[in-house]
Symmetry: C2
């Protein structure tokens, strides 16, 4: 790939709501590219016997035109009969709102899991409906089960601490309790699927979306095989900050970053991912124009960083800053162009 | 129990749609009695991973005021989002219509089965919502899994025969194929629950509802322990024909009776259940006023039979003929009164 060539294969690492907006921007920036989106599945949860994959579903509905645009998650034209009935039966939990149309997706997924299919295969089957022949593929970060749990301060617990599923913290408790620790249950033994590793190996551009660094991007990077695969690629790796002016645009990353010892700051998150030259992942990092001071500081410290408006108001806005980030990676390290994998086999084990 | 005394404990054997109308009549006839309804579960089916118990649910919704009165089954104010989604995902089967509210019941049941609860316990839990403190209890005929399958003529099959779940025959194929055989899969090893046997033992009146003799009442009677328990009771056993003038009022019993060698005739069904005096179950049998000839014939043959209007237009209509049937049983065999179990312990193992 050169500055004048568009990448034909792109990998995006992403969570749900912000991630799906980001991918729409990637589509707009490179309409001819095949895009593999590696999606966080550590938010997954089993509710009422149904396996729910919030980030995959948000991504699928958003890219497939089935999302509730006003909420940014869940299905358009949703009905809520089942939740009303579960409440009438006094069946818990009811704090996680599952719409009827959404539940159909979970029924299909749960059935396919019971039939022995891998999440990667199930996602492909569901996406047949939503993405059809579009050159976008959603890949669960792993076929293994990983769940983010958080340990929060609880003065009423004997130990002063209480563990709960991330969704319980996020949805039920509105991220209000103080987070002492973030755990990836099952994370130690989870490994990336062959599809994920092959996609990374074949990519000509890798984008780390502005999703939550702790509970969306973090679990993807922690999945066995992902970080070595990213460090082995010759394709440029460009990251985008979801923290703008010291606060997340979407979600509540500010509640979670302190628990992993990272400041709620675009520069701090960039250094958390790290410059490739310093053993990290990034060839370039994008921060919002309001964080220009951080950009100068990081660039001086060896992580090429550009301050540019990051609000994803339209796919075209997003496409602009993505192209800027790719340009930065190429200018910052001309070797990125030299290392382009155009002649490299997709089977290359690096 | 005497003719002037009302039974305080009644057992009803019943299927779904007709059965629930019948039970409403029993409630009207004996408002102070405790009613245990032994419900057919051989219509049960697993669809999309959900365990569906059509007869139990119809009974529950009907008695609890949640039924779609126009259809006679399913939930009032139902929505159909999930079926629409399953069709959009091209997931089969879609011939069995599952409403969203109804699916909530199946989700709760399926979860409780997975948690190890018995169908009897699950039904009690669901009925907490629907029946509250009403003195009506629904008892699945067994906690074991029994499914009615039918073998139909299929000229395209190499053997000329094809087996399918009863619901597939009934709902998908509208009972159109010729039925060669009716099978109770799992029936050989199914046994009645302790609750069913205790209810029969404690009953002061037993009513066999006008439900389908082959696929509703038949599986109940075939459940291990039920027939001996019914033959051991001293309480009168009164049956009601669902065949009026040579045709079923509801459903398609006429498609199934020939497969078990029984004529589609109120008299033939009465003789199929049999007079207690001849080793059968019935102390009295009710046929419609249009079947007066059959009534005379059966009475002469030793099965006390009354011809009376059987249409269950209102619960009061139903209550009237139920009381007539009980009166007939008492008049026909004064020993029924003598044998009344008022002083008999409920633990009596008979």
């Amino acid at each position: 790939m050169t500055a004048s060539q568009s990448p034909t294969r792109i990998v995006v690492l992403a969570g749900g709501v912000g991630g799906s907006r980001f991918v729409r921007g990637v589509r707009a920036a490179y309409p001819d590219a095949r895009i593999d989106v590696i999606v966080n599945t550590a938010d997954d949860i089993t509710l009422h016997g149904l396996r729910v994959s919030p980030d995959l579903d948000t991504m699928m509905y958003a890219l497939g035109g089935g999302i509730d645009d006003a909420k940014g998650w869940g299905r358009a034209e949703e009905t809520w009969s089942i939740m009303a009935e579960l409440k009438a039966y006094a069946v818990e939990p009811t704090w996680f709102a599952l719409g009827d149309r959404d539940i159909a997706t979970h029924l299909v997924r749960t059935q396919l899991i019971a039939a022995g299919a891998r999440p990667t295969e199930i996602t492909a089957a569901l996406c047949t409906r939503w993405l059809g022949d579009e050159p976008v593929r959603l890949l669960p970060m792993t076929d293994d089960r990983v769940e983010t749990h958080v340990v929060v301060a609880d003065p009423e617990a004997p130990s002063g601490r209480r563990a709960m599923h991330f969704q319980e913290f996020w949805v039920r408790h509105h991220a209000e309790p103080e987070v002492l620790e973030v755990l990836q249950v099952g994370g130690e033994s989870a490994s990336a699927s062959d599809e994920v590793l092959a996609a990374i190996g074949a990519a000509e551009l890798i984008l780390i979306g502005p999703s939550n660094p702790v509970v969306s991007i973090g679990p993807i990077l922690a999945t066995g095989g992902v970080r070595p695969a990213l460090r082995a690629v010759t394709a440029p790796v460009v990251g985008v900050s979801g923290i703008l002016g010291g606060a997340p645009v979407l979600g509540m990353a500010d509640k979670l970053l302190p628990a992993i010892g990272v400041e709620v700051d675009a520069g701090a998150v960039g250094l958390h991912y790290g410059a490739r030259s310093a053993g990290g992942l990034l060839d370039a990092w994008l921060v919002d124009s309001g964080d220009a001071a951080a950009a100068e500081r990081l660039t001086a410290a060896g992580l090429p960083t550009l301050a540019t408006p990051l609000l994803m108001t339209t796919p075209e806005d997003t496409a602009r800053f993505i192209r800027e980030g790719v340009g930065l990676a190429e200018r910052a390290d001309p070797a990125v162009v030299e290392r382009a994998p155009a002649s490299r086999s997709h089977q290359d084990p690096r």
